[in-house]
Symmetry: C2
Subunit: 393 residues, 2 copies
């Protein structure tokens, strides 16, 4: 048997993070590898109450097919929440998706012909790179400093490259680096996108998990032309297992996403949407998020402190103001995969950073999740990792 697959399948390989996570699954491992939120923060008791209430009050509707766009009361609540980051939106601007990962897949499907260019941050989110690769694009990755993507390099790329279909950015507590864009960079991004007439896909899974300072306006807040597609999710602030996210945009552009959603899976679970909607009506979502932030802030603090105390001075790391991740840079001669192999022998896991570079070529970085392990394990794991780094440097 000789099955002829689509050409795109040549680009698609199993996620390396997933493969590494299999090594990190043993119970004795202290894992900073996952992109998971802390499960002990999930509102399990509230979900029990909410699940019964939805089935009692909406039973048949919650179990039947429903509109592709999503459950209207939930879409309305999401639109309202967007005001916190300066985005004025209504029901018609919101499409419910199965996690924001699905919005990434749809962005690829809506925009990309084979060989088209996607501009990303360098590094960028592995799941987005995977989703886009299914549409066989080329990646142009633009370096970042502490304020976000370097704008002169973005401008140069927009000037010189043809067939740029969209710019993909994660401006708040970026995955993998934990960095946040300054407001100036956000405005400049819109200015360049307007000038070169290019859509933007703004992915913001972590923005609501800010431990200190004010939330900056979304890139979308500066969008006067409807060229920004904003992707949000409840995976980090509520429960990822429900697979609930949203795509926010305007008019024809959002309609394309709705069309693609219809062909892809008709709609997202009616029951899950109603459960989340009911939770947002009967409980205080912001209060729930505050509780998560409090736990994560402490875990970040203890991790930063331990890194400062135990890591070699030539190893640098990001001090994130929110989100799930920090990003570690080792001296250029070091390879994070070698460090991973050594660390796993000491029962400590993280994600080597090379998978986050769409065009590869960087080997001395690692992504570390500070949210899922309890504080004593953070101290123990980071101390061990510090020792490994000292040995290998």
């Amino acid at each position: 048997m000789n099955i002829k697959y689509a050409d795109r399948m040549k680009n698609m390989k199993a996620s390396e993070i997933r493969e590494l996570l299999k090594l990190a699954e043993k119970p004795e491992i202290i894992s900073f590898a996952g992109g998971f939120p802390a499960a002990e923060m999930f509102p399990v008791e509230a979900m029990k109450i909410v699940a019964v209430k939805v089935l009692e009050e909406q039973g048949e509707k919650a179990l039947q097919y429903s509109a592709t766009e999503g459950f209207k009361p939930l879409r309305e609540k999401i639109a309202k929440r967007m005001k916190a980051i300066g985005v004025e939106a209504g029901i018609d601007n919101v499409l419910i998706t199965s996690g924001s990962q699905q919005g990434l897949d749809f962005a690829g499907k809506v925009f990309l012909n084979e060989g088209d260019i996607v501009i990303t941050e360098k590094p960028s989110y592995l799941g987005a790179i995977m989703a886009f690769k299914a549409y066989s694009p080329q990646f142009v990755d633009i370096p970042m400093d502490d304020d976000g993507m370097e704008m002169d390099q973005l401008e140069e790329a927009l000037k010189t490259k043809e067939n740029v279909k969209f710019i993909y950015v994660i401006p708040d507590f970026q995955n993998p680096t934990g960095k946040t864009w300054s407001v100036e960079r956000r405005k400049k991004l819109i200015e360049l996108a307007n000038r070169f007439d290019i859509p933007i896909v703004e992915d913001n899974p972590y923005g609501e998990l800010r431990f200190e300072g004010e939330r900056p306006p979304a890139v979308k807040a500066f969008d006067t032309e409807g060229r920004v597609i904003y992707l949000g999710t409840f995976s980090k602030t509520f429960c990822p297992g429900l697979r609930l996210g949203w795509t926010l945009g305007e008019g024809e552009l959002l309609n394309k996403f709705v069309l693609v959603k219809q062909g892809s899976d008709l709609h997202t679970s009616s029951l899950s949407q109603q459960e989340l909607n009911c939770f947002m009506e009967d409980y205080d979502m912001d209060e729930h998020i505050e509780k998560i932030k409090e736990v994560y802030r402490k875990r970040r603090d203890i991790m930063m402190k331990t890194m400062e105390e135990t890591f070699p001075k030539s190893v640098t790391f990001v001090h994130p103001k929110g989100g799930l991740f920090t990003w570690v840079e080792m001296p250029p001669h070091m390879n994070a995969r070698d460090v991973f192999k050594k660390a796993i022998e000491h029962n400590v896991a993280f994600v080597p950073g090379d998978s986050f570079y769409p065009n590869g070529g960087v080997h001395n970085t690692m992504r570390i999740n500070y949210c899922t392990m309890p504080e004593d394990k953070i101290v123990e794991g980071i101390t061990k990792l510090g020792k490994v780094l000292h040995e290998m440097i």
Copy 2:
């Protein structure tokens, strides 16, 4: 602003069924248009119990990210159920999807380059045509008689066409026609697929809803080479709102679907999967399906009887042995869209059949769902439709 979409977006238009259903949404309409199962058959009370139990026993796990392939106990149960139609399978053969619609999208993604050929029945399922169109194929549609696809015409197509990537069939109570393939045709299909080395996508949402006679073996049951991808769903036997389906296959071919699933939405709702699994453990799924069949059988009977009594003799219709739909053929000069317009004035709705022809060109057919309306409404609606047909013939 001049947004440049992917070329595929030119093929994608809003589902005409969905647009028509908007007309049929008014409460006074007797609608035979939807592809919906009867909501009064949903196990709402059991779902309440199951939802609480899952959250009590598996709380954090049911709300956390989970494996792309799906929840193992559920995959195991599905594999076992496949024995009823002659398919020997294990956990590793089952990928959980968000409805079988998602399996259709994935088939397009795994197999199709632009311009490749998909062979379908004529007519075929609109949702599949939509899903495949996102990958810009050509359709070769093969006529059907009462025993399924006409095999000489399939053989001719396989002999003469290049770049045939797969054959898509719905052998049990087909959507839209309600027809079921004979066992001989199923064997012959496999023989031809083996000879020409072409994969088959077997879509079977309705096979479990058989009112009379024995279930025939699946096409997959005759597959000795692993070239059949089988798509199943709980949307018609349980609850469509949960979006739970499965893709069954072997080895590398199934792995491609898993890879595509990972990039598309990571995994299907952990909570929904655990709820269904718990329902299947604590309740008798076959007994539940028996109850649905009893109601649907009566509705089919009353619809067939009313059609026989009220439809003009030159209008023919399929007498389905299961599933949701019957298929009506009018004399060739008649156009189902005209009939639809007239019928909706009398508050009766159905789906004009032209959307089900991937290459168009047939206008005198209609799809009628006999499952969702109560018996008195079936008599009333079909009698009215009979009158409209008499007037227009």
